[in-house]
Amino acid sequence: MVEVIKKIFFALIVATLISCSSSTTDDASPTSMAMDHNDSHDHHHDHGNSLDVSQLTDPPTVSISGTATETGEVNLNFAVKNLELVPISPPSEHESGQGHLHLYVDGVSVAMLHETSYVVTDLTKGLHNFRVAISTNDHREYHVDGKAISDSISIEIEEGEETPEVDKGITVEVKNGTVVDGLQRLTVDVGEQVSITLLSDEDDMFHLHVYDLEVSLTAGQPETLQFQADVPGVFEGELHEAGYQILALEVS
């Protein structure tokens, strides 16, 4: 009997040791290298979420223009140079000179496009920001001199629904590789309007799970995400680049 238990512990300890050693040598392990070989963009935080094309003589460019049309609608047009726009589905490997557009409305990722026009609907009354960036086939944004190749425009919507009043809000600040004041928690009721303001000292991408809201963050620039909390549960809000959770949203 004692022998049996000794074996259990021995097995557990061995497992732990194996685990520890695998994790510390993670970047050099054969599996990890084999994976890099297969797919160079697997480790997002290792290779970054961007592709620098500063060395090109004619790097791609993009510009955005738009007009408010009907109630709560905006017609956007994009002018793209030095880039062939290709559909995102089926997913494909990076090909230089190819890519698609990422569109953000008020910092929130809303669409990936290979067309040069798009209609945003259901906008609320007030000023909205529309930002377009160009991305590789494998969803890395093209950069020149450390900055994303992008353009943005602000359009005032005069006729539209009033922005619903925020019931509960929180500000999450990320500084020096961790969350200021520890992991932030927000508890709300189902159906409430929630506002999450995010501020990071590095460029990153915030993702709220299940609600699947993504906010592109620029260092030092606060972005606010507003939505109705309609799914109950506890949800993780994480930073993609940094790779850790910064918010726990409890909806009950």
Binding site: M1, K7, I13, T16, S19, A34, E214, G233, Q245, S252
Partner: protein, 436 residues
């Protein structure tokens, strides 16, 4: 409009946890479980009842068709196995968009475990490794060499279970489709190599998942009789026919430890401890946490068995009561993963229509969305409480039945104190983890 999210998940798949259970409900449930357990100790029955109920009744009509059904199911699962394995490498390199993580962590690990508890030993019939191993055996004349002790003893089965938990709960890239692909491939080659050397009958003992699901299947009302015919009996009584060896106990304890750590890693306390950690640092913290929780679970059972052995002068105390751990494990599984199975599990039918992310729609389900409100949070909460408490009670009942079978009333009663202590510990732990 298509959105693709490349996410880093902390717990295999899913960035959602269940709402914390209110502390007073948890406290009441715990108190009730305790009270009923003590009642079970002395007041219930003084004669063993489970062994008499073991025989069951034949499901006569199913027998004739069962061969055809089994062969079809075996083929379907084998095809699915290769489809998912291929998706690991050629599908989108993304936890949510690829079918593999959902299939492995939800459909296979949680789905098959819970289904085994309900439908019995079906996994042994359909498992792709069983099929491949048997095919390998058939393809040549098996050389009968004596297999080494590490294989025949059953300890080898602990390796895949341990590595699986580490990938799921500790390694920060464990839910990456590519990592899963390599793991499945290496494991399959490993099993087939063992089968090549010593035959599948021996190699099977290293297939930890099969061993675990087979143990869990013992609590099902459906079982295979001596003549390989399907029979029914009362649920749970089958545990008394189980022979819980040392490795079997270790595997069940490891699965229990893994599930408990999954719970720990969702508590506010753990989130505060791990905040800001990513990559290799996160892996180290999670690995230590996983080992630590698994040790607590293991030490508790070890200590209880030692005390029990002394009280009853029976060296096999741990093996005799090992079966009690199975309903407790299923209770933990349901409590932690019931919502994952019915909510995140819906992704399986969506992804199955387009397993390689090519824009296909084979079954017409590719554009479905997950219905996150298919069960209310109230129902989830009660299922969680109910499964932990029921798992505990069934464990206690089984242990009680076993003890009156083996010993005099006095010794039987005494033998139950250490078992009760360890089961109360697991139950309190399970309930506390659900309060957030």
């Amino acid at each position: 409009m298509v959105l693709i999210f490349n996410s880093l998940f902390a717990h295999g798949v899913g960035g959602r946890s269940d709402l914390p259970i209110s502390e007073w409900i948890a406290a009441w449930s715990g108190a009730m479980a305790l009270l009923l357990s003590f009642a079970a100790l002395g007041l219930l029955w003084h004669q063993p009842r489970f062994p008499k109920l073991l025989n069951g009744h034949l499901i006569s009509k199913l027998v004739k068709t069962s061969q055809v059904v089994a062969a079809t199911a075996r083929l379907v699962v084998l095809v699915l196995f290769f489809v998912v394995l291929a998706a690991c490498f050629i599908g989108p390199d993304n936890t949510v968009a690829n079918i593999a993580p959902t299939t492995v962590f939800i459909i296979f690990w949680v789905g098959v475990a819970i289904s085994s508890a309900i439908f019995g030993p079906f996994w042994k019939t359909v498992s792709p490794w069983e099929t491949l191993g048997k095919l390998l055996d058939k393809s040549r004349t098996v050389v009968t060499r004596p297999a080494p002790n590490w294989l025949t003893s059953g300890w080898a089965a602990l390796i895949p279970i341990t590595i699986f938990h580490w990938l799921e709960l500790a390694y920060h890239h464990g839910s990456s489709p590519r990592v899963l692909g390599w793991s499945i491939l290496i494991y399959t080659v490993f099993l087939l190599a063992l089968a090549w050397r010593w035959g599948w009958a021996e190699a099977r003992k290293a297939e930890g998942f099969g061993v675990l699901f087979q143990l869990i299947a013992a609590i099902s009302p459906i079982f295979k009789g001596e003549d390989n015919r399907l029979k029914v009996r009362l649920p749970f009584v089958g545990i008394s026919a189980l022979n819980m060896s040392g490795p079997s106990i270790a595997i069940v304890l490891a699965a229990l430890g893994g599930t408990a750590f999954d719970g720990v890693s969702r508590t506010g306390w753990w989130l505060d401890l791990a905040v800001g950690k990513s990559g290799g640092g996160l892996t180290v913290v999670n690995t230590l946490g996983l080992a630590w929780v698994a040790l607590i679970i293991g030490v508790a059972y070890h200590q209880a068995s030692r005390i029990g052995s002394r009280l009853t002068s029976d060296q096999n105390f741990a093996q005799i009561f090992g079966g009690s751990l199975i309903p407790i494990l299923i209770g933990y599984d349901v409590a932690h993963y019931f919502s994952l199975l019915i909510l995140e599990g819906q992704a399986f039918k969506i992804l199955l229509s387009d397993p390689y992310g090519q824009g296909w729609n084979i079954f017409g389900t590719a554009d479905h969305a997950i219905n996150w409100t298919v069960v209310s949070t109230t129902v989830i909460g009660w299922v969680q409480i109910g499964s932990i408490v029921c798992g505990h009670l069934l464990g206690v009942l089984f242990a009680h039945d076993r003890s009156v079978e083996l010993w005099s009333k006095r010794t039987a009663l005494r033998s139950q104190y250490p078992m009760l202590m360890v089961m109360v510990l697991y139950t309190v732990m399970g309930l506390v983890l659900m309060t957030g």
